[in-house]
Symmetry: C2
Amino acid sequence: MPDPDARVFFEFFNEIGIIEQLSRTLLEARLPEGLIAPHFTVLNHLVRLGDGRAPIDMARAFQVPKTSLTHTLKTLQTRGLVTLAPNPGDGRSKLVWLTDAGRRLHGQTITALGPDFAALAEKIDPADIAPILPVLKAVRVTLDKARDAPQAAVLQSHKG
Amino acid sequence: MPDPDARVFFEFFNEIGIIEQLSRTLLEARLPEGLIAPHFTVLNHLVRLGDGRAPIDMARAFQVPKTSLTHTLKTLQTRGLVTLAPNPGDGRSKLVWLTDAGRRLHGQTITALGPDFAALAEKIDPADIAPILPVLKAVRVTLDKARDAPQAAVLQSHKG
DNA sequence: TATATTTAGTGCGATATGATACTAACAGGA
DNA sequence: TCCTGTTAGTATCATATCGCACTAAATATA
């Protein structure tokens, strides 16, 4: 690691990884027994962007293999948090809909996280967080494009 | 999510999660078949902080259950990247040592990531990343303390 | 239209993660 | 020293992740 630029990114991704793990643990402490972060991610996606979406589109959005999403959706379906219906526009596909229980659980989880974020806000000034959001977004978009760009084959996995 | 402060943190953790996944995919594309991010994390920890460490200390450092680390170490051991020896100072414990192959693989992986980081540096100015590292570190430390603080029992999982 | 290719979803198997429960070893107090 | 509680590691089991291969449906091409 002789290159100082590379070192900065290396440390950046290291911090990202640790924070992701800590925040995931926090989220999962607020979810009902047996539900983990990926389940909430699906609910959150459907609430924020609207339900009635195809699993394949969600798998792409989350950058996970479609087999993983199939499994996640099966658990959510079993617990009555989403329903899967045929996609009228494409016989191969399905559409995922939130149930009332799913929508309710999402709201309850957000509510349960409120005190945690309030406590965090006492230690970390949100005004320090807001300005770094655009940087994070730029990194995310760049990594995302690199993954999709054909010429950046080196960055591609065989997920899909 | 009525509280604007909470919203900032929510979006922050959302970006963190996505970047973590994309960067993990990138790292794993640079690792040999069958090795994934947690394996590299162990090698990196031992190279940077020195080997001859007890598994329990590493489990705490990574915030993973010790059973998960046992499994990770078993794979690294099978592939000849680390060795496990008795801990002379504690009969219950062991010490993890890097093999030459393990140290070599770590270096090779860093080298392999060089071009990726160089490409990233063309899109994202490292000078924009450096100043946010202290903020990320502050968030990480705060979450970490919250997890350990007894009075913040709500933040605690039952990992350990 | 007929055929070939691509795509959405899933079954299956291998590996990973983590909760529970256990053993062996350490540590503190009587 | 003995006893009690704690701690490090692991076996086991349930669930999660994801690559591979398959089916059915859509799309492209001849």
